[in-house]
């Protein structure tokens, strides 16, 4: 499965703004009632605010700009207007609160959808994408959507409603003048639709260069010690200058594309006023239009039509930026995990806890890492995977834990295809201490109990008791404040060895049937390591252990040793035999 988002982006068919909008709207199909009410409020509100200029124009034509002036009539109409404005006060409130509410909940749903998808995707997805790029993509793009939904959406919809209404009034009061006034709008529409793909492209390019820049910054800053130790401050500067310049260029391009709409729209809308002025006078002189309707209503409507249009220019770009962000997010949402639970009732005959049957695997299609692997793991035994670096040990372990599925062949757990197990069940059975320990920001306690429901309500004293019973007490003692020691994700506040200890305790307390240690003690001193190995020996008799290690003392107690090299897993039998193979294998490699 290809999960590289940059490649996917390059190959993706260009979709229109509307089709991406459509996809977005599907997320809020359950908000129909609120949308309907909001629409109603918008219609009433726009109608009321648009009736104003017409009433004023008519008032002039009927009571003011006529030989028989009638100030009483003027006041009557003023009262009517006041009533309308009061109603509009209410509807305009409703319009904002209903529509804005939909927007906020949509953003909420959308964020949840993205995060949920991230949780559903397999490890392969995270390995194929730069972490920095991924983080920036998700944070930035959701932020773009956030800005649109929280700030621009209301204006956007309000502007469209007023504009449409003004258009209708322009046409219905006097069709000739109305259609003439709208000619510049048609030109704007043509201009916009011609230039919008270009603007969108500029923005997408800019977003991408922003992602590239923050990825670059993250990589350099996180590895700053190397930059210092190797005198490459200039490397940081040079790489940064490159992305900075690139970002500058793409941002200027996007900025000019975005901002140039404003003066163009202003030009067109001014020409609309000119049309009203010149053609309006012509129509008035031929008695086809009242002077008040001409001088007040039409200028008002033209403003009400073109002013939102001008704002729409700004909002439109914000909308397009949001859509570009959404498109990048939609790409992630469209990804499907290739690690699915399959439904297969057939029970294979295999008495072993775990079996590899003709397993072939490669991270990408063109390079196979494991070739036709066959082995069995029995309950309660200790296995060791040894072999030179790059031989495929971690890959084998990853397949046992089903971080990946084999390209060919089958992994059987308790005689059943591992793919038929629900993740809950599978992960309960299989514990895997990863080569690179990961800690969440929080306390040691939170990290040890991470994802472990069993002890979550234990007090610290009770938990310490559990830890003692699991023979882990001596490990906990290494942390200065015990369970309450603070740890920072990715920080250097505790050593790598200590991180490995936390990962070890985390895995042991979950009490798995099969525990894999992938060089999980590589950075732990030998005395502590001895402790760990004692703990491992005291695990319940039924627990199967799979130990991956370079250091041989960690595997001397293994019941069976597998030699993993060049994508093959060979049963090495006894410790001595394994040593022989290891030595020989090394000479070969």
């Amino acid at each position: 499965m290809k999960y590289n988002l940059n490649d996917l982006q390059a190959n993706a068919p260009k979709s229109s703004t509307w089709s991406s909008l459509n996809k977005l709207l599907q997320l809020i199909s359950h908000e129909k009632r609120n949308l309907l009410l909001a629409t109603l409020a918008i219609v009433v509100n726009s109608t009321l605010s648009l009736l104003g200029p017409l009433i004023i124009g008519r008032t002039i034509d009927k009571y003011i700009f006529v030989p028989h002036k009638n100030y009483h009539g003027v006041l009557m109409n003023c009262a009517l207007l006041l009533g309308m404005y009061l109603v509009a006060l209410l509807t305009s409130y409703l319009q904002t609160i209903l529509m804005g509410g939909v927007g906020q909940r949509m953003l909420f749903t959308l964020r949840n959808a993205i995060f949920n998808k991230l949780q559903l995707l397999p490890v392969g997805f995270f390995n194929q994408n730069k972490a920095g790029d991924l983080i920036s993509r998700i944070n930035n793009d959701t932020d773009k959507l956030n800005q649109f939904f929280s700030q621009s959406l209301m204006q956007f919809i309000g502007s469209i409603a007023v504009m449409l209404g003004a258009g209708i009034f322009l046409l219905s009061v006097n069709i000739k003048l109305g259609s003439a006034t709208l000619i510049p709008a048609v030109l704007i529409l043509i201009f916009t639709s011609l230039t919008s793909p270009w603007v969108k492209r500029k923005n997408a390019r800019n977003l991408k260069s922003v992602g590239g820049m923050s990825g670059e910054i993250q990589e350099s800053l996180n590895n700053f010690k190397v930059i210092i130790a190797f005198n490459r401050r200039d490397y940081f500067r040079k790489r940064f200058e490159e992305v900075n310049t690139q970002n500058y260029e793409s941002a200027v391009g996007a900025g000019i594309a975005n901002n140039s709409y404003v003066p163009v729209y202003a030009l067109f809308s001014s020409f609309a006023q000119l049309i009203v002025l010149v053609y309006g006078i012509y129509l008035v002189s031929h008695g086809q239009l009242g002077p008040g309707v001409f001088a007040v209503s039409y200028f008002s409507y033209t403003n009400q039509f073109y002013n939102p249009l001008r704002q729409l220019a700004a909002l439109w770009t914000s909308f397009q930026t949001a859509m570009a962000g959404w498109e990048r997010i939609a790409q992630i949402l469209a990804l499907e995990t290739d690690i699915v639970t399959i439904d297969k009732k057939v029970k294979e005959l295999s008495p072993s806890l775990l079996e590899f049957r003709n397993v072939h695997f490669g991270y990408d299609d063109d390079r196979e890492i494991l070739h036709n692997i066959n082995f069995k793991l029995e309950r309660g035994k200790t296995y060791a995977l040894v072999g030179p670096t790059g031989g495929g040990k971690t890959t084998t372990a990853s397949l046992i834990a089903r971080l990946y599925d084999p390209n060919n062949g089958m992994v059987l757990l308790n005689g059943k295809d591992i793919r038929t197990y629900q993740p809950v069940e599978r992960t309960k059975k299989i514990g895997f201490i990863l080569q690179e320990p990961f800690l969440f920001t929080g306390t040691v306690r939170e990290n040890i109990l991470y994802g472990n429901e069993q002890y979550i309500s234990h007090t610290n004293e009770q938990l310490e008791q559990v830890i003692l019973e699991a023979n882990l007490g001596s490990l906990l003692a290494i942390f200065e404040s015990g369970l309450d020691t603070n740890v920072i994700s990715g920080g250097d506040s505790i050593s790598l060895g200590q991180k490995q200890l936390i990962a070890f305790m985390r895995a042991v307390l979950r009490n798995p049937e099969l525990l894999i240690l992938d060089e999980a003690t590589a950075n732990i001193d030998t005395i502590t390591e001895k402790l760990l190995s004692d703990i491992l020996n005291k695990l319940p008799a039924s627990t199967t252990r799979v130990i991956i290690a370079h250091r041989l003392n960690t595997i001397e107690n293994a019941d069976e040793i597998f030699f993993v090299n060049s994508g093959e897993v060979i049963r090495a039998g006894s410790f001595d035999h394994a040593m022989d193979m290891l030595l020989k294998g090394k000479r070969v490699s």
């Binding site: 995060f115 998700i138 800053l221 130790a229 003066p263 001014s270 299989i430 514990g431 994700s489």
Partner: protein, 583 residues
């Protein structure tokens, strides 16, 4: 309105940022004023047109709309040209300011030491370089011009209204303080919520970041639901704040439109009266309506922009904190070649309450091989960091060839000390650049380093050989391959002193011993300090230093330690059972 802006405390410094761009900024404001002043004149032209027509109609004369139309068109084209120029300068200036600011920041960061980066944290610096710079960009591109234009339009329109009919004008202008006041009141409340929402967004991002970096663990433990619950909590909070902000705006917008409507109403009631009394023309009446439309928007703009200025000021202060950070002391000027003698005198380092290193003293003579062993968290890595100057001691002295480490020119010093870090740090560049990371590396040194680190075969097996680009965090490489690349990187600078931090942890012992033999052969005279767990591979070293809890417990050759140090014997025995299998 202008008083309201004036009474805001002048944001310290943010305008000083514009000094180098004063030419562009002046041009920008000038163009904005050009187009705005002509824009203010448009209703006048329309009003004259209308009045001209009706005047002629009453006097039975033919009215020629031509001159008005031409006047109007010229004005409009003028506005367009200057508006467009303004747009270009606006974008150009703001991006230039942003680029220069980022360059200044990165230059500053690049001159800091590692302590600074660790203390400020990379993620904060990332925010400075991206989000903070963006908010300043927004200030330059939007706030400046908008506020100047808005004040200009409000004042200009007010004056023009007053000249047309002062009574009606005063009536219409009374909405300015009403709208402005309400707006500022609401905005003040919204601002507090915005700050809160920024905090929630940080929280959301933290959950997302950890779920990405810890993705493998989450899948092993199947804790996706747990992560989702964490996210849901933060997300619900974000939504609730969003809804609170919305409620404030939902109350604000009707007040604004209603005030504007009241102004419209008074124009009709009073203006109608004036027309009936013949003290006002229809054209003037129309222009009042047009000016009213021009008047409302700038009031809101000023409010919004004051928000942007506040944000930009906060960002600018954060950026300044980085820019004003004291430079790393220039260090010494000694550029002589190192012989390789090292001495530590009474070194102590304390992190918070916790001593990391206590009373560390030892000597290493040039060309010798030293091993540092000891349990986890004994302070072994700290020791190496100290020797490269990545961290500084609280007391004591670090001497190289009898001279303080601080007296050495840092560039010359680092080019003679190779450090293989414990964690694999591989950059997203080609293998060649990863190894020849320092720019002084010759092809010859590169080849020698590759051979020494036993990477030749591996590299030859890659599709693009040395030019193969490795992905970030080296996901496509095994742990041992990464370690060996790091070793080659350190060897490629032809170091006089080589520091290995747990190099053996991820490299199998066969490869390890081959590599160490290669080092011996290809880099004669090298002073080697190796932090390790394995006694077997360092038994023959000139000196073995045993550290526990930040202290040196024992120090000497293997044979001596076996006689004098019970702790050493304990470690030795824990490895003994298998050590005869080590090559």
């Amino acid at each position: 309105m202008s008083q309201t802006v004036g009474s805001k405390p002048k944001p310290p410094g943010i305008f000083s940022l514009l000094k180098p761009y004063s030419g562009l900024v002046t041009l920008l404001i000038l163009f904005a004023l050009f187009s705005n002043s002509v824009n203010l004149w448009l209703p006048k032209i329309i009003s004259h047109g209308i009045d001209g027509y009706f005047h002629n109609r009453f006097t039975q004369m033919h009215f020629d709309a031509g001159p008005t139309a031409i006047e109007f068109s010229l004005a409009v084209v003028f506005i367009f040209v200057f508006g467009f120029l303004q747009t270009i300068i606006q974008t150009y200036t703001s991006e230039k300011v942003a680029r220069d600011l980022r360059a200044r920041l990165s230059d500053k960061i690049s001159r800091q030491n590692n302590l600074f980066i660790e203390r400020v944290t990379p993620s904060k610096l990332l925010t400075n370089l991206t989000a903070d710079v963006d908010s300043i960009k927004l200030f330059v591109s939007q706030a400046l011009v908008s506020i100047v234009s808005s004040v200009f339009i409000i004042v200009g329109a007010s004056i023009l209204l007053l000249t047309i009919n002062w009574k009606l004008a005063l009536c219409v202008m009374s909405i300015i303080p009403i709208i402005g006041g309400t707006f500022f009141y609401v905005l003040k409340k919204v601002r507090a919520l915005f700050i809160k929402s920024r905090g929630v967004i940080d929280w959301l991002n933290k959950v997302i970041n950890e779920s990405i970096l810890g993705s493998a663990l989450i899948r092993v433990i199947n804790s996706q639901q747990l992560e989702f619950d964490k996210f849901l909590k933060a997300n619900a909070e974000a939504r609730d704040i969003g809804l609170s902000i919305l409620r404030l705006f939902a109350g604000l917008i009707p007040v604004i439109t209603f005030s504007a409507s009241m102004a419209t109403l008074s124009i009709l009631a009073l203006g109608g009266h004036f027309i009936i009394n013949n003290t006002m023309s229809l054209g003037e009446f129309a222009s009042f309506n047009l000016y009213l439309a021009q008047l409302i928007f700038p009031i809101l703009i000023i409010g919004f922009m004051s928000n942007i200025i506040a944000q930009a000021t906060a960002s600018f202060q954060r950026i300044n904190a980085v820019l004003d950070a004291p430079d790393t002391p220039a260090g010494g000027s000694i550029t002589e070649n190192l012989k390789g003698d090292i001495e530590l005198k009474d070194i102590a380092i304390t992190y918070g309450q916790k001593p990391a290193l206590k009373q560390i003293s030892f000597k290493v003579s040039a060309g010798s091989k030293i091993a540092v062993i000891g349990p986890t968290a004994a302070g072994k890595s700290q020791l190496l960091y100290l020797l490269t100057g990545l961290i500084k001691q609280d007391s004591g002295e670090v001497l190289f060839d009898g001279r303080n480490i601080d007296d050495y020119d840092s560039e010359s010093f680092h080019s003679q000390v190779g450090f293989v870090f414990q964690d694999s740090i591989i950059f997203n560049i080609s293998i060649r650049e990863n190894i020849a990371f320092s720019d002084t590396v010759t092809d010859e040194s590169l080849e020698k380093a590759i051979d020494t680190a036993e990477l030749r075969e591996f590299i030859n097996g890659l599709p693009d050989k040395l030019s193969t680009v490795v992905s970030e965090r080296g996901a496509s490489l095994s742990g041992g391959q990464k370690q060996r690349i790091m070793l080659a990187r350190a060897l490629a600078i032809e170091p006089k002193i080589l520091l290995l931090d747990d190099f053996t942890a991820r490299v199998d012992s066969g490869t390890e011993s081959k590599i160490l033999a290669n080092v011996q052969k290809n880099y004669p005279g090298l002073t080697l300090i190796s932090v390790t767990q394995k006694i077997a591979s360092v038994e023959h070293y000139d000196q073995i230093i045993l550290m526990m809890q930040g202290e040196i417990v024992a120090c000497g050759k293997h044979g001596e330690l076996m006689k004098t140090s019970p702790e050493y014997v304990q470690i030795f025995n824990s490895q003994q059972s298998t050590s005869n299998y080590e090559v």
